[in-house]
Symmetry: C2
Subunit: 352 residues, 2 copies
């Protein structure tokens, strides 16, 4: 139920994300859903959506976005619409004095983003992007660890990835793979989280440089389906990010300091809704235990000696596998060095 | 005790790694330590080292490497000496018919490596590099998972790192930071493992290209103390590696396929000697649990509404943090795109 102390939020559209966020608004003691606007549903359908998602009975039903952002009973708007429409509606909302909760990617580029900034500044608007994990209490604890000079020390490397294997329908029809809609693809979607995780790990400082990594995948329309990048803060502090619509769901965050290491396996959406975990330092896992009665170095010797025995006692030829394996390793190690020496140009190692 | 079925291994030097490997040889039923050569210790000291490390009483003590590799009671040699000496001693050992177990980095470059190849081929020598983790039974299980089309699918991304925080003495004096000795630094040492993990994850196929990443750290002599690289197999299959002497001990391996994800937290040296673990898919950890009574999206709404309330009810200004945070994210996202569009050149984002 709305009361005067609650912020009245208007939401756009009858979508799943609105189900999730409106539930969140209902759970927040200091907020209420005061209105909804849908342009793809009839008023009756929208009413039904509101009722089935436990909107307060007082929540108004609008047939247009315009109408909602002019509603005096709306303090703020949440609009999960394609990124290509963000700048227009954010500016309109701001000009109507509505505070803005906006999904990522906020805009298609900084030029657009700055128009939103301008509108927010001109109208005293509170802006927040709709990234949720940063608000999890776990994140505060993570930040505490990452800024602890004794337990973590100075940051050296952050590695984060967020991927999920989109189905065929998604890869064909989702707004996130359409140039006219969310044109940044996996980068603006999954990548957004990994960039934020990298920023979090380094006290929200902008890096000096950002470099895309080889191996990105684009669809026919040129939208990123998968890519990686390196963020460089200089002095040996770097972050690598990986985001993809083409790989199994993975939400890893590893941050390595001079004294400690952080690991999170579900940083974007915790496996459990009301409890989340992370590990620090070198705490081990306990899945898939394989017993080896003797240590691995002895296993190595056994294999080595077995091969030598074959040669010595049975006239066998050396097993070329290990040599090839080592040589390949050397080729790559050399190529890394060569790349360092050659202005980070890709080094062709095939056939070496 | 030596018997005819055991391979007789001669070792160079009285070092800690020889303690570890000779223990491994003792544990291997098909191998025995038949000789040791040290040039930095007296014969008596070497005898004492042999005895305290449970070498068989029959193990011969040599005062020179030459003498050991000419010893007819030695089938194979293990020589943990600086990489700069590997090619010379590997060739000499090979010419004497001794099989070779050689620590990483095997050579300082492929040119040198190929001389070892030639000597091994000319003399029928079994070669193996001294990387131990690849022999752990866990690695076979990992490989099984990574090649399982149902559980793992096709590989998309591998992320591996091996770092440890070397102390001042190491960074000043260790052979791994000296141009004349192990000239590849962290890349040839810690990096070696990460490269091998990447190869393992992709059926030991050489990538198409290797590109060093920005942010590497060199010492005054130009030796790599920390660096990253990307291996590109094309078709969106990549690996990033990170190796460092400057960051907390971390031994992460994450491999993401179209259907499954592998995580290993101690791939180089398992936390436990006789048991090792890994996780697949999305199995969660249970350390550092933080209870959040309401889900994170509700936490977000609460914070958002609190800020709006400050403005609405107390005349506060918007908190610029969230906008800045989002804008920085956008700047980086744009820079990643710009880098992709500009032949992977580093993009300067400071001041944007």
């Amino acid at each position: 139920m709305a009361d005067d102390s609650q912020i009245r939020i208007g939401v756009f559209s009858c979508t799943n994300i609105v189900r999730k966020v409106s539930r969140a608004i209902n759970l927040a003691p200091n907020a209420t859903v005061s209105a909804i606007a849908s342009i793809s549903n009839s008023i009756d359908e929208t009413k039904s959506f509101a009722a089935s998602n436990n909107f307060p009975p007082t929540a108004k039903i609008h047939g247009s976005y315009e109408s909602l952002i002019e509603d005096p009973d709306v303090d703020a708007v949440y609009f999960p619409i394609p990124a290509s429409l963000h700048v227009e509606w954010a500016i309109r909302a701001a000009r109507n004095g509505k505070h803005i909760l906006l999904d990522k990617p906020v805009a298609l580029n900084v030029y657009e983003f700055d128009q939103i900034v301008e509108a927010c500044e001109a109208n005293g608007i509170q802006f927040m992007d709709g990234t949720q994990w940063i608000h999890n209490p776990r994140t505060a604890k993570i930040k505490e660890f990452l800024t602890d000079p004794v337990s973590f020390g100075q940051l050296k490397s952050v590695q984060s990835c967020f991927s999920f294997a989109a189905n065929e329908n998604f890869l064909k029809n989702d707004i996130r793979v359409k140039p006219g809609l969310d044109g940044l693809g996996a980068l603006g979607d999954a990548g957004w989280y990994t960039v934020q995780a990298s920023l979090l790990a380094n006290s929200f400082r902008l890096p000096k440089t950002v470099t895309a990594l080889p191996g990105h995948v684009l669809n026919d329309a040129g939208i990123v389906l998968s890519c990686g990048a390196l963020l460089d803060w200089e002095e040996g502090v770097t972050a690598t990010i990986y985001c993809s619509f083409l790989a199994n769901v993975t939400m890893e965050l590893t941050a390595i300091g001079t004294k400690g290491t952080l690991r999170v396996h579900d940083f974007v959406i915790p496996f459990q809704e009301t409890e989340a975990s992370f590990t620090t330092s070198t705490i081990s896992l306990s899945e898939h235990k394989i017993v080896n009665e003797i240590p691995q170095e002895a296993c190595m010797v056994i294999e080595f000696a077995r091969l030598v025995g074959e040669i010595k006692n049975r006239g066998a030829k050396p097993d070329g596998f290990w040599l090839n394996f080592s040589r390949k390793t050397q080729v790559i190690v050399d190529a890394v060095k060569e790349s360092i020496d050659n202005n980070l140009e890709p080094i062709l190692v095939s056939g070496r």
